[in-house]
Assembly symmetry: C2
Homo-oligomer: 426 residues x 2
């Protein structure tokens, strides 16, 4: 037994091979974010630590395009933020509607069920999105308290337009929760204008950061609804604390009202904040805002245009509804007779480039190529196309040598000729 032997089993020092992560996320972090994580930690009653928390809230509001005071972090993956909001809003027996257009709609359904919700779903085929009228009709039929919806579902590479959904939900008295993990920072997202009540995201897609913390924002409608479930832990509650009237939230770790107390001026302790993730979130937001959100959206769209032009020049077929394609992830049908996994392996082994496959009905049917955040730049699009061409040729696919990169360069040339700011073509 290793635990009792005299010489412990230690393995080699950490030495990850260099990779270009062009899958659906996580992606390579901006080096400034990696450096931020390595900054010395502070104690959690340190005035500077509290200032960083407050500053992060201000930065997140700008990312989410909201005036919501309650814009903060939930330590865990993006999924932890999703579950925190849903478990805090949903009391057992509440009705929840989930329109499903990919894997992550199933995840929202799954979470709603575990919250004890009476859950209804509507579905479209993977690759499509909903017409707002379909969601309107489903709300009228099911009368949900909460509609939970994914913005961009990386499993299908499609993005659900949201501008009309918020007003529909509000008209019927439902809350709208949106999972913006895969889109925040990569395309317009308007929390307030679109009347989204609660939203969760992560850093590891278009925000150039690591996985490990969720970003959440909720408006006053939600705050009011969950206030009746506001609870304080016995070990730290003041003697005169009156227990709330509403049902207790069924998670302590993911209890949004308790997290709000920690992110408020009272700093009532909850869990030990993940300092490196606070530093990372603050730095990711600063970088995105300093670049300018519009600039970032433009860069993601340009990369998508160049990548798709290159793929089509190889006679590859894109997956999904082109009118609703996410700019940061591109689905490609694996050609008949080509071993998709062998191509992915060649990409990784020969070039150090990772691309993804997908889940469920799309597993082994499509590749997914990400162009997001720090990795969303011309050189990566071109190297990825060149590498894919090579890998396909090795497997006998009749790609015309050089065509993909030429086609992509053509997109960049047109863009440059329009004398758009150079930053866009980075």
């Amino acid at each position: 037994m290793s635990a009792t032997s005299n010489s412990p089993e230690l393995f080699e020092p950490l030495n990850p091979p260099p990779r270009l992560l062009m899958g659906p996320g996580p992606i390579n972090c901006d080096p400034r974010v990696l450096h931020a994580m390595a900054m010395p930690p502070l104690g959690h009653s340190d005035p500077t630590f509290w200032r960083y928390m407050d500053e992060t809230m201000v930065l997140l509001r700008q990312l989410f395009r909201t005036e919501n005071h309650w814009s903060f972090l939930v330590n865990g993956s993006a999924r932890a933020g999703i579950e925190a909001l849903m478990i805090s809003i949903i009391a057992p027996g509440d009705r929840v509607l989930v329109p499903i257009f990919g894997r992550f709609g199933h995840l929202l359904t799954e979470i709603a069920e575990r919250c004890g919700a009476e859950t209804s779903t509507i579905e479209v085929e993977w690759g499509a999105v909903f017409d707002p009228a379909q969601i309107d009709a489903a709300i009228q039929k099911h009368q949900p308290k909460l509609v939970a919806l994914v913005h961009g579902d990386t499993s299908t590479t499609t993005v659900q337009p949201l501008a009309e959904i918020g007003p529909i939900c509000r008209r019927h008295g439902a809350f709208l929760f949106v999972d913006a993990t895969a889109t925040l920072g990569g395309m317009p997202f308007e929390t307030d204008t679109w009347q989204i009540d609660a939203v969760a995201a992560g850093l590891q897609k278009c925000l150039s950061g690591p996985p490990g913390t969720a970003l959440v924002s909720l408006n006053e409608r939600v705050v009011e609804a969950i206030a009746t479930r506001q609870h304080i832990e016995h070990g730290i509650a003041p003697a005169d604390f009156e227990p709330p009237l509403g049902p207790k939230i069924q998670s302590n770790y993911l209890d949004i009202p308790m997290l709000m107390k920690w992110w408020s001026g009272t700093r009532l302790p909850h869990h030990t904040e993940a300092t490196p993730m606070l530093y990372a979130a603050r730095e990711c937001a600063r970088i995105a805002l300093a670049d300018g959100l519009e600039t970032s959206f433009g860069r993601h769209q340009l990369s998508s245009n160049a990548l798709t032009a290159g793929l089509e020049a190889m006679n590859l077929e894109l997956f999904g509804d082109r009118a609703h394609k996410m700019p940061n992830v591109t689905g490609v049908l694996i050609p008949n007779g080509i071993d998709g996994e062998a191509v992915r392996r060649d990409m990784l082994d020969c070039f150090g480039i990772e691309i993804g496959t997908s889940f469920g009905p799309l597993q082994g049917k499509i590749w997914r190529i990400g162009t997001m955040g720090y990795n969303c730049r011309r050189q990566n699009v071109l190297i990825c196309l060149a590498a894919l061409e090579t890998a396909l040729l090795r497997r006998g696919y009749p790609a015309r040598a050089g065509a993909a990169v030429e086609a992509a360069l053509g997109v960049y040339d047109v863009w440059d000729a329009r004398s758009t700011p150079a930053a866009l073509a980075n």
Copy 2:
């Protein structure tokens, strides 16, 4: 509204002031761990990433002193690991017993209640611990499925002896869960020998790492008990998946059986693993094991001895049952007439040293001084004593100048004279 203004509010680049964190945690990270976090991330289907996951499991087994295959990470604070294990073991209506001897016993109670458990508690005054016979009697009375117990409760600085508790639980057919957040790496912890069924910990105390991931381990008894709740998300479940017979675990994010599938050879995806936290955990474990656990325990005990000698030389009174004092945190009664918060402020403002106060009945009554992990070393004990002496003198407390450091040095001298390995006196 800042979100729509043309110039975003960005704040200054991250620049945390240098601090010596001598509170109850988090502590200063070992620089090797900070560097590990800043290593380039890998994709989550990368063979090297999977190897790092497997290696981390081997390393955690050695830290926990267990042969439990299922020793892995839960992304979130230590509390996330605690809740994951409890919520996966407890089905609504199950009986749970929590012996409470500080704040974190209240936390376990709180979590058990939110899991829908029928929860019983027994309590001793803060500063004391339980006699095993008290726990035995309570188990016989309440017949719990699970006993949930804190090992070292930093709120009171006392540690509950565990060696007899596991066998008592097993005799009565109860599972034993232990929260070892504040002790793992700082004093002996024997998961298997003590017959502990499930255990959770963090990196940010005696393991010299950051807050942000939990370490968990569970044995085959627990695996068997939760197997009936094994569930697979609809979006990724194979078509022939049969839903389990047991009640669904009421959290998706903290579902241990699903995490086990991700940490198994099948790598069935769950959440996006927090890469920097995997790197950090692997490095923390490597450092602790390379130093040697016994050496680390000795260093924590020596620091505790030196610190307490210094505090007593200032005629300060220690808090809590000395026979069961944690070696890594020391509670000191704030002397009558001294403004405890002013002293803490002076320590921080003049010396950059953070010490803690406590919670609930002990808030403002004691200071808590931590000597753990990377910070557990002679120079820190001495600088902390000298700074505390200065701060006390400024507030009119009659400390005899130099006495504290002399007393601590005396402890180190005796230790050195015994010609114990030099590493211990670091």
